[in-house]
C-alpha cells in the first residue's frame, strides 16, 4: 500500500509537471506561460526609455530621445553606430515581428508552429524565397559600405537579443514556446524578399493561359485589353519619349503553350496598393512643395512600420522604417522628402520545362541543359524534417512538377521572377536618407531592383518628381502574358529597359505629380507595358482634385487622404437603377432601392449606400463571370473596370448569360437578379447584426500577425473608405502609413499609422495610434535638428560603447 501511494504520487507529480510544461496544440505550456516570474506577467511592463546601456561594437556614444508617441530620435556620430543603434532599438520594440516575418519569408514557420505550416513553408521554398535572398546578399556584398552597415544592424539586433533572458522574451515566444535566434544580414535580405513577394509576387499567366484556351483570342482581348478605354497614367500623357534610343525587343514568332493548369501557389493580395502625390511650390499655399504618401498594406499588429528619426552629423532622416531593413523607407530629411507606391509590372513569367528521363536535364534550343537541385530541408516542431528537392533551370525554380501541384512526369513549370535576380535595394534607401537634391535622388534610385515602386519626390529647392523605378525586363510585344515554351531561347527575357529610360517626370507643367497604382504610362511609351491589374479609380479622383483649383494647403492634403468618394459605384449605380426593371419590386426591395437612389457615393461610416453597393456588386460580378467558375482550372475573372465597361456597353453579350439557367439573361436582367439577392443578403445581415451602416458592415480590423489572434487584435475600427477609394481602408488593408511633408527648411511633417510603436501587446503603445488614425487625425513629427532634448521628449537613453 505504502509503495502504491508513493508510486502514484510520484506519477502524479511527473504528470502535472509534464502537463504544465508542454505545449498542447495551440495551448501554451501553461505553467511556463502563467508563472509570475518568467511567464507572461513579466511582459506587463511599460517601456524603458531612460538610462545608459552599454553596447559592444559602438565606436561612439549614441543618444536616443523618445517623444510622447514613443518615436525614437537617434543621434549617432557615424553611419555604423547609427545603424547598429537602429537594429538595437528596433529589436527592443519589435523583435518577435522581425523574426516572424523573416521566418515566414524563408518558409520556416513549421519550426515554430508545427506541421500546420508545412504547406505554407513548402510553397515559400518552392517560390525560391531563400534563393532570392541569397542572390540579394551576393549583390549587396559587391558594395562594401552596404555590407558593413547591414552587418552593424545585425550586430545591434543581436546585442539586444543577448541582453534578454527567457523572462523577458516577447510574449509571442512564450505563447509558442520557442527562443529568438541570432539576426543575420540574410534576414534583412529575407525581409526585402518578403516585401518583394508582397508587392511584386503576383501574376496572372496561368489564369490567362486557361482563359485564352477556353475562350479564344478575340474574346480574351475583349475581356483583358492591354489598355482600358480611358487612361490616366502616372507619367503624364504628353510626355515626350523621343530621347529613348534603345528599342523594344522585337517579337519572335512565338505561341503560347495552352496547357490546362488546375492550381497555383498563393498570390499576394492584389488589393495592396498606395497613393502618393506632390504639388509644386506654384500650386502650394505657402510656395513650398508639399508631398504625401500612404502605402495601402495589410492592417496588422504589430504594424509593418516603425517610425524613427535617424541622424548623424552628416544627415538627418525621419519617417517610416521597416523592422529588419536599414534606414527610412518613406520619409524626409532636411532637404528632400520621398515616398512610394507599388509600380506593378509583369515581372513574373512562366516557362514550360521538358525534362529528360531521370529529370537531370531539360531541353533548351535543341540541346539538353543540366538541372540543378536545391534541397530544401523544412524543420518541423516535434516531427522529423521534411525534405523537398526543387529543380532549378536557368529560368528559375521549377515550382510545379510531379511533386507539387502537377502530375506531369517529365514536364514542369519554371518561374522567372525579378525577385530571383538579386539587387542592392537596401542601398537605395540608405542613399535616399542622405540625398540633398533631385540628382542625389535619381542616383539613389539606380540601385533599386524590385519590387518596382513609384518614388515620389519633393525638395526644399522646389523640385517635384516621380520615377517609376525597378529593374524591368524589355519584353517583346505580348511576352509573358501566357505560359511560354521554356525550350526556346527567344522566349527568355532578352534584357532590361535601360534604367535612365524608366518612365519618370520632373516638374511637370500641371504642377503636381501623383501615383495610385494605375498604368505607369500610356501607349506612347516605347516599351511593352500592358494591364497588370492597374487601378483605375483612385488615380482619377486624385488627379481631378489637383486640377480643381490653383493652390492646395495641408488641410486639402488631409482631406484627400480621407476622401471617401466611391467613383466606381458612381459609374455603375445610376445606370443600374435606371435600366433595371423595377415593376415587381417587393416592399423590402423598394426600401433598399430608395436608399441606393439617395446615396451620394461617399463611403462614409454611417452611410448605408456603401453596404448596398458592396453586397450588390459582389453578387453581380460573380453572376456576370459565372463562365469563370470551371472545375480544376485556375481562372481570374476580368477586372472591375472592364466589367463595368462591358455591363454598360455590351449588355447583351453572351457572357452576361447565366449558363445554368435556360433563359438568356442580359446585363439588365442581371441587375435585377443580383439586386434581389443582395437585398436578401443585406436583410439577413441586418437581422443578425443590427444595422447596415457601412462601418459595421465593413468591419475594419487590425489583426495580430499570428492569424489575427483576437486577444492581440483590434476589431470594428471606426473608419469609412473602401476598395478603390482614396481612403482605401477595407476590411483588413488600407493606409498603413499616412505622411504629409511640407518642404519648408527644415521640412514640417505629419504622420500616423494604424498601430503603435511597441510590439508588446502589454504596452499602451501597442495600438495607441489606431483611434486617431481612424478619425483622420495626424501627429506632428518632431523633427529634432540636433541631439538636445526639447520639451517634446519624455525620455532619453544613451547607448555607450562597451569595451
Amino acid at each position: 500500500m505504502k509503495y502504491f501511494k508513493l508510486i502514484l504520487s510520484f506519477a502524479l507529480t511527473i504528470g502535472i509537471f509534464f502537463a504544465l510544461n508542454t505545449k498542447f496544440g495551440s495551448i501554451p505550456p501553461i505553467g511556463k506561460f502563467l508563472n509570475p516570474y518568467s511567464g507572461v506577467w513579466q511582459n506587463e511592463t511599460d517601456e524603458s526609455i531612460s538610462g545608459d546601456i552599454s553596447i559592444s561594437g559602438l565606436k561612439d556614444k549614441v543618444t536616443v530621445h523618445y517623444d510622447a508617441q514613443l518615436i525614437p530620435h537617434v543621434f549617432a556620430q557615424n553611419d555604423y553606430d547609427l545603424h547598429r543603434a537602429q537594429g538595437y532599438i528596433t529589436a527592443k520594440h519589435r523583435l518577435w515581428q522581425m523574426e516572424f516575418q523573416t521566418h515566414a519569408a524563408a518558409g520556416r514557420l513549421s519550426e515554430i508552429i508545427g506541421e500546420g505550416a508545412l504547406n505554407h513553408d513548402r510553397q515559400e521554398r518552392r517560390r525560391g524565397m531563400g534563393f532570392g535572398a541569397e542572390q540579394a546578399i551576393i549583390k549587396m556584398s559587391e558594395d562594401e559600405q552596404t555590407t558593413a552597415l547591414v552587418q552593424a544592424y545585425a550586430d545591434g539586433v543581436n546585442s539586444y537579443i543577448n541582453e534578454l533572458d527567457s523572462n523577458n522574451y516577447p510574449v509571442e515566444y512564450k505563447l509558442l514556446d520557442y527562443k529568438p535566434e541570432a539576426w543575420t544580414p540574410k534576414k534583412t535580405a529575407l525581409l526585402l524578399m518578403y516585401m518583394t513577394k508582397m508587392l511584386a509576387g503576383g501574376d496572372e499567366d496561368m489564369e490567362y493561359t486557361n482563359a485564352l484556351r477556353l475562350f479564344g483570342k478575340e474574346r480574351f482581348d475583349l475581356l483583358f485589353p492591354d489598355f482600358f478605354d480611358i487612361t490616366e497614367p502616372i507619367i503624364p500623357k504628353e510626355t515626350d519619349w523621343s530621347y529613348i534610343d534603345v528599342p523594344q525587343t522585337p517579337a519572335p514568332f512565338s505561341e503560347a503553350v495552352l496547357d490546362s493548369i488546375a492550381e497555383t501557389i498563393d498570390k499576394p493580395d492584389p488589393n495592396y496598393g498606395s497613393n502618393n502625390w506632390a504639388v509644386s511650390g506654384k500650386k502650394s499655399y505657402s510656395g513650398h512643395p508639399i508631398l504625401a504618401n500612404d502605402p495601402h498594406l495589410g492592417l496588422n499588429l504589430p504594424s509593418i512600420w516603425f517610425v524613427m528619426q535617424l541622424s548623424t552629423p552628416n544627415h538627418n532622416a525621419f519617417g517610416a522604417t521597416l523592422p529588419g531593413a536599414l534606414g527610412v523607407i518613406s520619409g524626409f530629411n532636411q532637404h528632400i522628402a520621398w515616398g512610394e507606391t507599388n509600380a506593378t509590372r509583369d515581372v513574373i513569367d512562366w516557362y514550360k520545362i521538358e525534362f529528360n528521363e531521370d529529370r537531370t536535364k531539360y531541353k533548351f534550343d535543341n540541346q539538353w541543359k543540366d538541372v540543378s537541385v536545391r534541397v530544401e530541408e523544412i524543420k518541423i516542431k516535434g516531427k522529423l524534417s521534411y525534405k523537398d528537392s526543387v529543380l532549378y533551370t536557368h529560368h528559375g525554380p521549377v515550382i510545379y512538377d510531379k511533386n507539387y501541384k502537377s502530375e506531369r512526369e517529365r514536364a514542369g513549370y519554371a518561374m522567372k521572377w525579378i525577385g530571383h535576380i538579386g539587387g542592392n535595394n537596401q542601398k537605395t534607401f540608405l542613399d535616399l536618407n542622405k540625398s540633398e537634391n533631385y540628382d542625389d535622388y535619381v542616383k539613389a534610385l539606380t540601385h533599386y531592383t524590385a519590387p518596382a515602386q513609384n518614388f515620389v519626390f519633393a525638395s526644399t529647392e522646389g523640385d517635384i518628381a516621380l520615377w517609376v523605378q525597378g529593374k524591368l525586363p524589355n519584353k517583346w510585344e505580348g511576352q509573358g502574358k501566357f505560359l511560354m515554351d521554356g525550350s526556346k531561347s527567344e522566349n527568355d527575357w532578352q534584357g532590361f529597359i535601360p534604367q535612365p529610360f524608366n518612365a519618370h517626370t520632373k516638374n511637370p507643367e500641371r504642377g503636381f505629380v501623383s501615383s495610385a497604382n494605375q498604368q505607369p504610362v500610356d501607349e506612347a511609351y516605347p516599351y511593352f507595358v500592358y494591364n497588370d491589374g492597374y487601378e483605375t479609380y483612385r488615380n482619377r479622383v486624385i488627379n481631378d482634385f489637383f486640377s480643381s483649383k490653383d493652390t492646395f494647403n495641408i488641410q486639402d492634403f488631409k482631406d484627400l487622404h480621407n476622401n471617401n468618394y466611391n467613383l466606381k459605384a458612381s459609374e455603375l449605380i445610376p445606370y443600374m437603377l435606371e435600366t433595371m426593371d423595377i415593376s415587381n419590386l417587393t416592399a423590402e426591395e423598394n426600401e433598399i432601392y430608395n436608399l441606393a437612389k439617395t446615396w451620394q457615393y461617399n463611403n462614409d461610416m454611417e452611410e448605408i449606400g456603401p453596404s448596398i453597393w458592396n453586397a450588390w456588386w459582389n453578387i453581380l460580378y460573380d453572376m456576370v463571370w459565372d463562365e469563370f467558375d470551371v472545375k480544376n482550372t485556375v481562372l481570374n475573372a476580368p477586372f472591375t473596370y472592364q466589367t463595368i465597361y462591358l455591363l454598360k456597353t455590351k449588355g447583351d453579350d453572351a457572357f452576361m448569360d447565366i449558363i445554368e439557367t435556360p433563359e438568356i439573361e442580359t446585363a439588365k436582367d442581371l441587375f435585377k437578379l443580383s439586386f434581389s439577392k443582395a437585398v436578401k443578403k443585406l436583410n439577413s445581415w441586418k437581422a443578425e447584426n443590427g444595422d447596415l451602416n457601412w462601418v459595421k458592415y465593413k468591419g475594419t480590423f487590425a489583426g495580430h500577425l499570428l492569424q489575427a489572434l483576437p486577444a492581440f487584435s483590434r476589431f470594428d475600427i471606426p473608419i469609412g473608405g473602401g476598395k478603390n477609394i482614396v481612403n482605401a481602408t477595407s476590411e483588413n488593408w488600407g493606409p498603413s502609413w499616412r505622411m504629409i511633408v511640407e518642404m519648408t527648411s527644415p521640412p514640417t511633417a505629419l504622420g500616423i499609422y494604424p498601430g503603435g510603436q511597441s510590439g508588446n501587446p502589454g504596452s499602451k503603445y501597442y495600438d495607441n495610434f489606431i483611434d486617431d488614425w481612424a478619425a483622420g487625425k495626424y501627429h506632428s513629427l518632431n523633427f529634432l535638428q540636433n541631439d538636445t532634448a526639447t520639451n517634446v521628449i519624455i525620455g532619453t537613453q544613451t547607448l555607450t560603447p562597451s569595451n
Binding site: 504520487s9 510520484f10 505553467g31 509570475p36 516570474y37 507572461v40 506587463e44 511592463t45 486577444a711 504596452s763
Partner: protein, 118 residues
Amino acid sequence: MSKNIINFIATIILAILLSIFLPWWSVMTAALTTALFVPLKKAAVFFVPFLAILLFWIVYSYLLSSGNDFTLAKRIAILLPLGGDPYVLMLVTGVVGGLAAGIAAVFGKQLSLMVKKP
C-alpha cells in the same frame, strides 16, 4: 505555531528563494522539500502548499500587472479564454501554481513516510 502555518510560510519563502535560479517548477521543489521537513497530516498535506503558492502567485502577478493597468492580463484573459477578466487570470495562475505545489507535496509526504522508520 501550528505545523500548518510553519509549512505555509516555509513553502512561500522557499518558493521565492528557489525561483531566483530555477524555472517555474521551483514551486514544486519548494513544496516537496517542505513536505519532507515539515510533514503535515491528511488533507493539509495538499491544501497548505496549494494555498501558499496560490496566494504567492496571485499576489505576485497582481503586483506586476497593477502597475501596468492590467493591459496584458486583460488580453491574455481573452486568449485563454477567461472572458477578458484579469482577476480570473490571476486566480487561474494561482490555481496552476498551487496545484503543482500541492501534488509535489503529496509526493514529498509519501517520500518522508518511506524515509522514516515505521
